[in-house]
Amino acid sequence: MSKVVVVTSGKGGVGKTTSSAALGAALAQAGQSVVVVDFDVGLRNLDLVMGAERRVVFDLVNVVQGDAKLPQALIRDKRLETLWLLPASQTRDKEALTEDGVEKVMDGLRARFDWIICDSPAGIEKGATLAMRFADQAVVVTNPEVSSVRDSDRIIGLLDSKTRRAEGGEKLEKQLLLTRYDPARAARGEMMKVEDVLEILAIPLLGIVSESADVLTASNLGFPVTLHNPASPAARAYADAARRLMGEEVTVTTPKEKKAGLFGRLFGKRVAA
Protein backbone atom coordinates (compact mmCIF):
# COMPACT_ATOMS: atom_id res chain seq x y z
CA MET A 1 0.00 0.00 0.00
CA SER A 2 1.46 3.30 -1.02
CA LYS A 3 1.55 6.28 1.28
CA VAL A 4 1.05 9.93 0.48
CA VAL A 5 3.06 12.16 2.81
CA VAL A 6 2.76 15.95 2.76
CA VAL A 7 5.78 17.95 3.90
CA THR A 8 4.35 21.23 5.11
CA SER A 9 4.99 24.14 7.48
CA GLY A 10 2.99 27.26 6.75
CA LYS A 11 6.07 29.42 7.05
CA GLY A 12 8.56 29.69 4.22
CA GLY A 13 12.27 29.02 4.44
CA VAL A 14 12.10 26.47 7.24
CA GLY A 15 13.36 23.58 5.11
CA LYS A 16 10.39 21.93 3.41
CA THR A 17 12.09 21.40 0.08
CA THR A 18 15.40 20.31 1.60
CA SER A 19 13.54 17.90 3.87
CA SER A 20 11.34 16.55 1.06
CA ALA A 21 14.43 15.79 -1.02
CA ALA A 22 16.35 14.30 1.90
CA LEU A 23 13.47 12.15 3.17
CA GLY A 24 12.63 11.01 -0.36
CA ALA A 25 16.24 10.04 -1.03
CA ALA A 26 16.57 8.33 2.34
CA LEU A 27 13.46 6.23 1.67
CA ALA A 28 14.83 5.32 -1.78
CA GLN A 29 18.19 4.45 -0.23
CA ALA A 30 16.28 2.07 2.03
CA GLY A 31 14.96 0.31 -1.07
CA GLN A 32 11.54 1.95 -1.36
CA SER A 33 10.18 3.36 -4.60
CA VAL A 34 9.61 7.06 -4.10
CA VAL A 35 8.33 10.05 -6.00
CA VAL A 36 8.77 13.56 -4.68
CA VAL A 37 6.15 15.99 -6.01
CA ASP A 38 6.78 19.73 -6.11
CA PHE A 39 3.52 21.60 -5.42
CA ASP A 40 5.10 25.03 -5.44
CA VAL A 41 3.64 26.12 -8.76
CA GLY A 42 5.34 29.28 -9.98
CA LEU A 43 8.34 28.94 -7.67
CA ARG A 44 9.62 25.44 -8.29
CA ASN A 45 12.87 24.58 -6.57
CA LEU A 46 12.78 20.90 -5.77
CA ASP A 47 14.30 20.17 -9.21
CA LEU A 48 17.24 22.41 -8.33
CA VAL A 49 17.78 20.93 -4.87
CA MET A 50 17.67 17.43 -6.38
CA GLY A 51 20.01 18.30 -9.23
CA ALA A 52 17.49 17.70 -12.01
CA GLU A 53 16.85 21.29 -13.10
CA ARG A 54 18.17 20.72 -16.62
CA ARG A 55 16.01 17.68 -17.26
CA VAL A 56 12.55 19.19 -16.71
CA VAL A 57 10.37 18.91 -19.82
CA PHE A 58 6.83 18.49 -18.54
CA ASP A 59 5.48 19.27 -15.10
CA LEU A 60 2.62 18.75 -12.65
CA VAL A 61 0.46 21.41 -14.29
CA ASN A 62 0.94 19.84 -17.74
CA VAL A 63 -0.27 16.53 -16.34
CA VAL A 64 -3.20 18.07 -14.44
CA GLN A 65 -4.32 19.93 -17.57
CA GLY A 66 -3.89 16.89 -19.79
CA ASP A 67 -1.06 18.32 -21.91
CA ALA A 68 1.27 15.49 -20.91
CA LYS A 69 0.91 11.97 -19.60
CA LEU A 70 2.17 11.22 -16.10
CA PRO A 71 5.15 9.04 -17.24
CA GLN A 72 6.32 11.87 -19.52
CA ALA A 73 6.58 14.29 -16.62
CA LEU A 74 8.33 11.95 -14.18
CA ILE A 75 12.11 12.36 -13.91
CA ARG A 76 14.20 9.52 -12.57
CA ASP A 77 17.10 10.43 -10.29
CA LYS A 78 20.48 9.70 -11.87
CA ARG A 79 21.95 8.34 -8.65
CA LEU A 80 19.09 6.41 -7.10
CA GLU A 81 17.10 4.07 -9.34
CA THR A 82 13.96 4.12 -7.24
CA LEU A 83 13.80 7.89 -6.69
CA TRP A 84 11.67 10.01 -8.98
CA LEU A 85 10.69 13.65 -9.22
CA LEU A 86 7.51 15.30 -10.48
CA PRO A 87 8.43 18.95 -10.92
CA ALA A 88 6.17 21.98 -10.51
CA SER A 89 5.46 24.40 -13.28
CA GLN A 90 7.40 27.64 -13.32
CA THR A 91 5.30 29.98 -15.35
CA ARG A 92 1.63 29.32 -14.86
CA ASP A 93 -0.43 30.62 -12.03
CA LYS A 94 -1.52 28.60 -9.01
CA GLU A 95 -5.09 28.43 -10.29
CA ALA A 96 -3.78 25.94 -12.84
CA LEU A 97 -4.11 23.17 -10.23
CA THR A 98 -7.56 21.74 -9.64
CA GLU A 99 -8.65 19.36 -6.95
CA ASP A 100 -9.93 16.79 -9.45
CA GLY A 101 -6.75 17.05 -11.49
CA VAL A 102 -4.51 16.59 -8.48
CA GLU A 103 -6.59 13.63 -7.29
CA LYS A 104 -6.11 11.90 -10.65
CA VAL A 105 -2.36 12.49 -10.52
CA MET A 106 -2.23 11.12 -6.96
CA ASP A 107 -4.14 8.01 -8.02
CA GLY A 108 -1.71 7.51 -10.90
CA LEU A 109 1.26 7.88 -8.56
CA ARG A 110 -0.22 5.53 -5.96
CA ALA A 111 -0.30 2.82 -8.61
CA ARG A 112 3.43 3.17 -9.27
CA PHE A 113 5.17 4.12 -6.02
CA ASP A 114 5.47 3.08 -2.37
CA TRP A 115 5.85 6.67 -1.24
CA ILE A 116 4.51 9.93 -2.65
CA ILE A 117 6.19 12.87 -0.91
CA CYS A 118 4.33 16.13 -1.53
CA ASP A 119 6.52 19.19 -1.08
CA SER A 120 4.05 21.91 -0.09
CA PRO A 121 4.49 25.58 -0.91
CA ALA A 122 4.57 28.05 1.99
CA GLY A 123 1.36 29.76 3.05
CA ILE A 124 -2.18 28.48 3.46
CA GLU A 125 -3.42 29.22 -0.05
CA LYS A 126 -4.58 26.82 -2.73
CA GLY A 127 -1.17 25.29 -3.47
CA ALA A 128 -0.65 24.37 0.18
CA THR A 129 -4.18 23.06 0.69
CA LEU A 130 -3.97 20.94 -2.47
CA ALA A 131 -0.59 19.54 -1.41
CA MET A 132 -2.14 18.26 1.84
CA ARG A 133 -5.57 17.40 0.42
CA PHE A 134 -4.95 13.71 -0.35
CA ALA A 135 -2.27 12.99 2.25
CA ASP A 136 -2.29 9.91 4.47
CA GLN A 137 0.20 11.45 6.85
CA ALA A 138 2.00 14.75 7.36
CA VAL A 139 5.48 15.90 8.23
CA VAL A 140 5.29 19.34 9.83
CA VAL A 141 8.64 21.09 9.38
CA THR A 142 9.29 23.62 12.12
CA ASN A 143 12.17 25.82 13.26
CA PRO A 144 12.52 26.55 16.99
CA GLU A 145 11.40 30.12 16.43
CA VAL A 146 8.12 31.86 17.33
CA SER A 147 6.72 32.59 13.87
CA SER A 148 7.49 29.11 12.59
CA VAL A 149 5.85 27.44 15.61
CA ARG A 150 2.76 29.61 15.29
CA ASP A 151 2.40 28.84 11.56
CA SER A 152 2.90 25.13 12.22
CA ASP A 153 0.04 25.27 14.71
CA ARG A 154 -2.16 26.82 12.02
CA ILE A 155 -1.13 24.13 9.54
CA ILE A 156 -1.90 21.37 12.06
CA GLY A 157 -5.39 22.87 12.37
CA LEU A 158 -5.80 22.73 8.59
CA LEU A 159 -4.51 19.15 8.42
CA ASP A 160 -7.20 18.23 10.95
CA SER A 161 -10.00 19.93 9.03
CA LYS A 162 -9.26 20.41 5.35
CA THR A 163 -7.83 17.08 4.24
CA ARG A 164 -9.83 14.25 2.68
CA ARG A 165 -8.91 11.99 5.57
CA ALA A 166 -10.03 14.48 8.20
CA GLU A 167 -13.29 15.12 6.38
CA GLY A 168 -13.93 11.39 6.21
CA GLY A 169 -13.38 11.07 9.95
CA GLU A 170 -10.15 9.12 9.42
CA LYS A 171 -6.94 9.67 11.31
CA LEU A 172 -4.20 11.66 9.64
CA GLU A 173 -0.92 11.07 11.41
CA LYS A 174 1.11 14.24 11.91
CA GLN A 175 4.76 14.24 12.94
CA LEU A 176 7.11 17.06 13.77
CA LEU A 177 10.43 17.51 12.01
CA LEU A 178 12.41 20.12 13.89
CA THR A 179 15.00 21.70 11.61
CA ARG A 180 17.76 24.29 11.99
CA TYR A 181 18.09 23.36 15.63
CA ASP A 182 21.13 24.79 17.40
CA PRO A 183 21.92 22.75 20.54
CA ALA A 184 24.42 25.27 21.85
CA ARG A 185 21.95 28.14 21.70
CA ALA A 186 19.20 25.97 23.18
CA ALA A 187 21.51 25.06 26.07
CA ARG A 188 22.16 28.76 26.72
CA GLY A 189 18.44 29.52 26.73
CA GLU A 190 18.63 31.56 23.56
CA MET A 191 16.55 29.15 21.53
CA MET A 192 13.51 27.08 22.43
CA LYS A 193 14.37 23.53 23.32
CA VAL A 194 12.99 20.47 21.56
CA GLU A 195 10.68 19.81 24.54
CA ASP A 196 9.31 23.37 24.40
CA VAL A 197 8.25 23.03 20.77
CA LEU A 198 6.88 19.53 21.35
CA GLU A 199 4.85 20.68 24.32
CA ILE A 200 3.36 23.59 22.40
CA LEU A 201 2.51 21.74 19.18
CA ALA A 202 1.62 18.45 20.88
CA ILE A 203 2.39 16.11 17.98
CA PRO A 204 4.91 13.24 17.96
CA LEU A 205 8.50 13.89 16.97
CA LEU A 206 9.78 12.50 13.65
CA GLY A 207 13.28 13.88 14.00
CA ILE A 208 15.63 16.73 14.82
CA VAL A 209 17.97 18.16 12.21
CA SER A 210 20.60 20.52 13.54
CA GLU A 211 21.66 23.64 11.73
CA SER A 212 24.43 22.36 9.51
CA ALA A 213 26.78 23.43 6.75
CA ASP A 214 26.34 20.03 5.09
CA VAL A 215 22.76 20.87 4.17
CA LEU A 216 23.77 23.99 2.26
CA THR A 217 26.71 22.25 0.61
CA ALA A 218 24.45 19.45 -0.58
CA SER A 219 21.87 21.81 -2.06
CA ASN A 220 24.64 23.86 -3.69
CA LEU A 221 25.64 20.69 -5.50
CA GLY A 222 22.12 19.48 -6.27
CA PHE A 223 22.28 16.47 -3.98
CA PRO A 224 19.87 15.45 -1.24
CA VAL A 225 22.02 15.61 1.91
CA THR A 226 21.54 11.88 2.60
CA LEU A 227 23.22 11.15 -0.74
CA HIS A 228 25.96 13.73 -0.63
CA ASN A 229 27.31 13.04 2.81
CA PRO A 230 25.51 10.09 4.41
CA ALA A 231 27.76 10.19 7.48
CA SER A 232 26.96 13.82 8.34
CA PRO A 233 24.71 14.44 11.37
CA ALA A 234 22.02 16.00 9.16
CA ALA A 235 21.99 13.02 6.78
CA ARG A 236 21.81 10.60 9.70
CA ALA A 237 18.93 12.57 11.21
CA TYR A 238 17.03 12.37 7.91
CA ALA A 239 17.84 8.67 7.44
CA ASP A 240 16.53 7.96 10.95
CA ALA A 241 13.42 10.03 10.25
CA ALA A 242 12.83 8.01 7.07
CA ARG A 243 13.08 4.77 9.05
CA ARG A 244 10.54 6.13 11.52
CA LEU A 245 8.24 6.95 8.59
CA MET A 246 8.54 3.31 7.55
CA GLY A 247 7.33 2.35 11.00
CA GLU A 248 10.65 1.31 12.54
CA GLU A 249 11.26 2.12 16.17
CA VAL A 250 14.30 4.37 16.23
CA THR A 251 14.92 6.42 19.34
CA VAL A 252 15.38 10.12 18.72
CA THR A 253 18.65 11.48 20.01
CA THR A 254 18.61 15.16 20.82
CA PRO A 255 21.69 16.76 19.29
CA LYS A 256 24.19 17.94 21.88
CA GLU A 257 26.65 20.78 21.73
CA LYS A 258 29.56 19.99 19.48
CA LYS A 259 32.24 22.08 21.11
CA ALA A 260 33.86 20.48 24.09
CA GLY A 261 34.52 22.76 27.04
CA LEU A 262 37.97 23.46 28.41
CA PHE A 263 37.66 20.47 30.70
CA GLY A 264 36.61 18.23 27.84
CA ARG A 265 39.42 19.44 25.62
CA LEU A 266 42.01 18.93 28.33
CA PHE A 267 40.93 15.38 28.86
CA GLY A 268 40.24 14.63 25.24
CA LYS A 269 36.58 13.86 25.81
CA ARG A 270 34.03 14.81 23.21
CA VAL A 271 30.69 16.06 24.38
CA ALA A 272 29.35 15.69 20.87
CA ALA A 273 26.73 13.09 20.11
Binding site: V149, R150, K193
Partner: protein
Protein backbone atom coordinates in the same frame (compact mmCIF):
# COMPACT_ATOMS: atom_id res chain seq x y z
CA UNK B 1 20.98 42.68 38.73
CA UNK B 2 23.97 42.95 36.43
CA UNK B 3 25.41 39.93 38.19
CA UNK B 4 22.27 37.95 37.33
CA UNK B 5 22.29 39.30 33.82
CA UNK B 6 25.80 38.09 33.34
CA UNK B 7 24.74 34.52 33.84
CA UNK B 8 21.29 34.83 32.30
CA UNK B 9 22.06 37.06 29.39
CA UNK B 10 19.79 36.49 26.49
CA UNK B 11 17.72 33.73 28.05
CA UNK B 12 14.91 34.65 25.69
CA UNK B 13 13.70 31.14 24.94
CA UNK B 14 11.41 30.89 28.00
CA UNK B 15 9.78 34.16 26.97
CA UNK B 16 9.21 32.80 23.47
CA UNK B 17 7.62 29.66 24.88
CA UNK B 18 5.28 31.59 27.16
CA UNK B 19 4.20 34.03 24.49
CA UNK B 20 3.43 31.18 22.14
CA UNK B 21 1.47 29.26 24.75
CA UNK B 22 -0.79 32.24 25.47
CA UNK B 23 -1.21 33.16 21.80
CA UNK B 24 -1.92 29.66 20.54
CA UNK B 25 -4.43 28.97 23.31
CA UNK B 26 -6.43 31.87 21.87
CA UNK B 27 -5.89 31.05 18.23
CA UNK B 28 -7.04 27.49 18.75
CA UNK B 29 -10.14 28.63 20.64
CA UNK B 30 -10.99 31.09 17.91
CA UNK B 31 -10.03 28.82 15.01
CA UNK B 32 -12.19 29.66 12.02
CA UNK B 33 -13.63 32.66 13.86
CA UNK B 34 -10.74 35.03 13.36
CA UNK B 35 -13.23 37.71 12.34
CA UNK B 36 -15.00 37.61 15.70
CA UNK B 37 -13.72 40.99 16.90
CA UNK B 38 -14.70 42.54 13.61
CA UNK B 39 -18.20 41.07 13.71
CA UNK B 40 -18.72 42.14 17.32
CA UNK B 41 -17.62 45.64 16.44
CA UNK B 42 -20.05 45.83 13.53
CA UNK B 43 -23.00 44.52 15.48
CA UNK B 44 -22.37 46.69 18.52
CA UNK B 45 -22.01 49.77 16.33
CA UNK B 46 -25.19 48.89 14.47
CA UNK B 47 -27.04 48.59 17.77
CA UNK B 48 -25.83 52.00 18.93
CA UNK B 49 -26.44 53.61 15.55
CA UNK B 50 -30.13 52.73 15.87
CA UNK B 51 -30.40 55.21 18.70
CA UNK B 52 -27.59 57.76 18.22
CA UNK B 53 -26.01 58.96 14.97
CA UNK B 54 -22.31 58.07 15.15
CA UNK B 55 -19.47 58.51 12.71
CA UNK B 56 -17.19 55.62 11.80
CA UNK B 57 -13.98 57.56 12.36
CA UNK B 58 -15.01 58.43 15.92
CA UNK B 59 -14.87 54.79 16.93
CA UNK B 60 -11.78 53.13 18.39
CA UNK B 61 -11.66 49.37 18.88
CA UNK B 62 -8.94 47.63 20.87
CA UNK B 63 -8.46 43.98 21.60
CA UNK B 64 -6.20 42.80 24.38
CA UNK B 65 -5.59 39.12 24.85
CA UNK B 66 -4.63 38.08 28.33
CA UNK B 67 -3.79 34.73 29.81
CA UNK B 68 -7.07 34.43 31.74
CA UNK B 69 -9.35 37.03 30.18
CA UNK B 70 -9.45 39.04 27.01
CA UNK B 71 -10.95 42.49 26.71
CA UNK B 72 -12.63 44.04 23.73
CA UNK B 73 -12.64 47.77 24.26
CA UNK B 74 -14.88 49.93 22.11
CA UNK B 75 -14.52 53.66 22.51
CA UNK B 76 -17.17 55.78 20.83
CA UNK B 77 -17.10 59.54 20.77
CA UNK B 78 -20.68 60.80 20.97
CA UNK B 79 -21.24 64.44 19.95
CA UNK B 80 -23.26 66.59 22.40
CA UNK B 81 -25.99 67.39 19.89
CA UNK B 82 -26.59 63.72 19.22
CA UNK B 83 -27.55 63.23 22.84
CA UNK B 84 -29.44 66.53 23.06
CA UNK B 85 -31.89 65.45 20.38
Amino acid sequence: MSFLNFFNRNRSAPVARERLQVLLAHERAFAGRSDLAERLQKEILAAIAKHIPIEGDKVVVRLERGEQVSTLEIDIEVPEQALAR
